[in-house]
Subunit: 155 residues, 2 copies
């Protein structure tokens, strides 16, 4: 089972390709970020997210996708922007035949760090422990965590 | 100049195809709504909006698109959902080479009814006067108003 974890955003969308190995270990095949240029108009930025995601899906052919539910208690304006990117991402996944599961943020933290209120540092430390990888960006760390949560959660 | 006015939504997306005639009159070529089925998963609904919009764009080949800015003072949850649909719509317009202008809600009301705080009934009455059409749905009326605002506003 191969999954793509996605942390959507207009400026940066984090992604991670993960597999569960037969021994119950995770294998991180790829991770990175889709960037868009602030100077470009909003529709152009949305399209470049769609185009880049299609390239990643074509390369890695994931069996499923995992994406965080929208979290909007802090900044509504940001949540509105993220939701535009998120809509495009969900549509592209559907178009490419990749079934998507939406995951609750605290569920993701619980499954990765054993604590539904874990902070970003705790998540990164657990990723370092589980995958022996030092992830520098929050977007990528969130995408990996999303993928791990998917692989360890039964539906 | 042919414009498509769009009022985005997950359940219903209103659209209207308008042209400005040489005499300064508006011609309403088509209008309607894109519906999605509540029973379908969210990504499926987003994709059906994209697919249906592509059919409309292919049929009418508008030179430009006009879409309302997101209005989120009332219900954040609704605004988040609308933004997902809106993201997909902006991306499809970009993909189909249709330049998009985002319009302010009060600017739209001002240009159609001469009052930036006009209510839905006032807008409909003005549409009836301008286009001799009795529009029953708010989504469609908003889409038409958006198109008229575009055609009467210089950039």
């Amino acid at each position: 089972m191969r999954v793509i974890g996605i942390d959507p955003g207009i400026e940066r969308t984090g992604f991670a390709i993960l597999e569960m190995q037969p021994q119950g270990k995770f294998k991180l095949l790829d991770f990175g970020r889709i960037f868009t240029d602030k100077k470009n108009p909003f529709p152009h930025r949305l399209r470049s997210i769609a185009d880049d995601l299609k390239v990643i899906l074509k390369q890695w052919k994931p069996d499923a996708a995992a994406i965080e539910e929208v979290f909007f208690s802090k900044n509504v304006r940001t949540a509105i922007k993220v939701s535009h990117a998120r809509g495009v991402i969900l549509e592209v996944l559907e178009e490419c035949g990749v079934p998507t599961r939406e995951l609750n943020p605290s569920h993701i933290k619980l499954s990765v760090a054993g604590d539904g209120r874990a902070d970003k540092l705790q998540i990164r430390k657990m990723l370092q422990y589980l995958l022996a990888v030092d992830v520098k960006s929050d977007d990528t760390a969130d995408a990996i965590a999303c993928g791990i949560c998917f692989l360890t959660t039964k539906t």
